[in-house]
């Protein structure tokens, strides 16, 4: 009997990030235009496993998804036990550029969700010519906080359980129960304080409203897609962001929430396939 393996290949990439050696776990599948996927805060690249297995995508795109340092199967850098993990706009932006360089990918499309959706706005402002197109899922330059992140990492409340419980309501009630449970599982698996450290970028360091005027969608097309059930990054947050970026294309996705690619892959592909088709057929 032949073993049933997915076409996804996972490897460990060694590279320097912020001047320190890192070991990053990277999965990829497919051939064609590089499509680099950025996971949400406090989770990992398993969120993209359905895209990595979707032949309608991998027949045209080389889909690449990596676990950020401290996340998933990527190790924290040596000495991490002596510091607090805090993601910043500068380190996150440079991480994406450095991973793309280390993977030797030329003019990739970058698609990020949540914090990943936020950082593509900065990539558009600072590095537009390096990318063929940028896709922000659940993306806004700024959104109103809705809880105190101190709850995410303290000894009297279970970190994994509270991280998952906080984000559980960001998914659409129509999303399949199994997909919702798997999405939350990644939050339950996160290292202590890592979700909180990611949200340092989201809440403290990453207000990007002032950079939107520098985004030129002629230099790099920008697509923003947000689920109607996302009350963290609401459709209105995304539309407000897009209103400040001439040429940005906005789609509000029905029956989806904050984790479209993992909470309901079948529903998400109805929205993302046309975007990927458009990018593929347009001259780079």
């Amino acid at each position: 009997m032949t073993p049933h393996f997915e076409p996804v290949v996972g490897r460990y990439l060694h590279l320097q990030l912020s001047g320190r050696p890192h070991r990053l776990y990277v999965e990829e599948a497919g051939q064609g235009i590089p499509l680099v996927c950025l996971h949400t805060a406090g989770a990992d690249a398993r969120q993209f496993r359905h895209l990595l297995n979707d032949e309608a995508i991998t027949s045209h795109y080389r889909v690449i998804a990596f676990d950020m340092p401290w996340h998933g199967k990527s190790s924290p850098p040596e000495g991490f036990e002596h510091e607090e993990y805090l993601l910043t706009t500068a380190t996150y932006t440079q991480m994406v550029v450095d991973v793309c360089n280390a993977m030797c990918v030329d003019k990739p499309v970058v698609m990020g969700c949540s914090i990943g959706g936020r950082i593509v706005l900065n990539l558009a402002a600072e590095h537009a010519t390096r990318f063929r197109a940028l896709i922000g899922l659940e993306s806004a330059a700024y959104q109103q906080p809705w809880y105190d992140t101190e709850w995410l990492n303290r000894p009297d409340v279970h970190g994994g359980e509270v991280c998952a419980a906080l984000v559980s309501g960001l998914m659409a009630p129509q999303s399949p129960a199994a997909n919702r449970a798997e999405t939350l599982w990644m939050y339950k698996c996160g290292g202590p304080g890592i979700f909180k450290g990611d949200l340092h970028f989201y809440r403290v360091d990453g207000d990007l409203r002032d950079v939107l005027a520098r985004i030129d969608t002629q230099a790099c097309p920008l697509y923003l897609l947000t689920g109607e059930y996302d009350f963290s990054c609401t459709p209105e947050d995304t539309q407000r962001t897009a209103a400040a970026i001439p040429g940005a294309e906005v789609t509000v996705m029905k029956e989806l929430g904050h984790f479209p690619m993992s909470e309901n892959p079948a529903q998400f592909r109805r929205y993302i396939l046309p975007v990927l088709e458009k990018i593929r057929t347009q001259a780079p």
Binding site: Y147, D156, E161, V162, L166, S168, G169, P173, Y229, F231
Partner: protein, 143 residues
Amino acid sequence: MSAVTAQEEATERVIRTFEALPKLASEDPILTRRGRFLTCDIEVGVGAVPLSISIVEGRVVAVRRGPFLLKAHPFSISAEPDVWLRFHQPMPAPGDHDLLALTKTGRARVSGDLVPFMGNLQYIKDLLALPRNLAKPQREAKH
């Protein structure tokens, strides 16, 4: 029907659904197991009417209607009756679908000692959403 009467009618409807919680929770062993470390009385406000939901190791043992005199609740969760009615729809609309969506927009309020609330957050959110199941038995009865 005057506006006051409509408000009172909505309040009574919500209270009746919350009074079904002992039965609804007993039908959900996964939920009661999740709440097995929680024993306390939660105050749930339905407009001006406070309810006291008594939980013992995840089981809902009583739902009492206030006002309560000299009775302390570690934390309380309150919303207007129309907000609870929309929250309890079997397929709630965006923004009505999660307790924290309600608190973000100021349509629900959580106050008191938040450690047991946050420590049992998924249990509490799912418990308060259990009345959504009241519309389901008819569908399931066809099987």
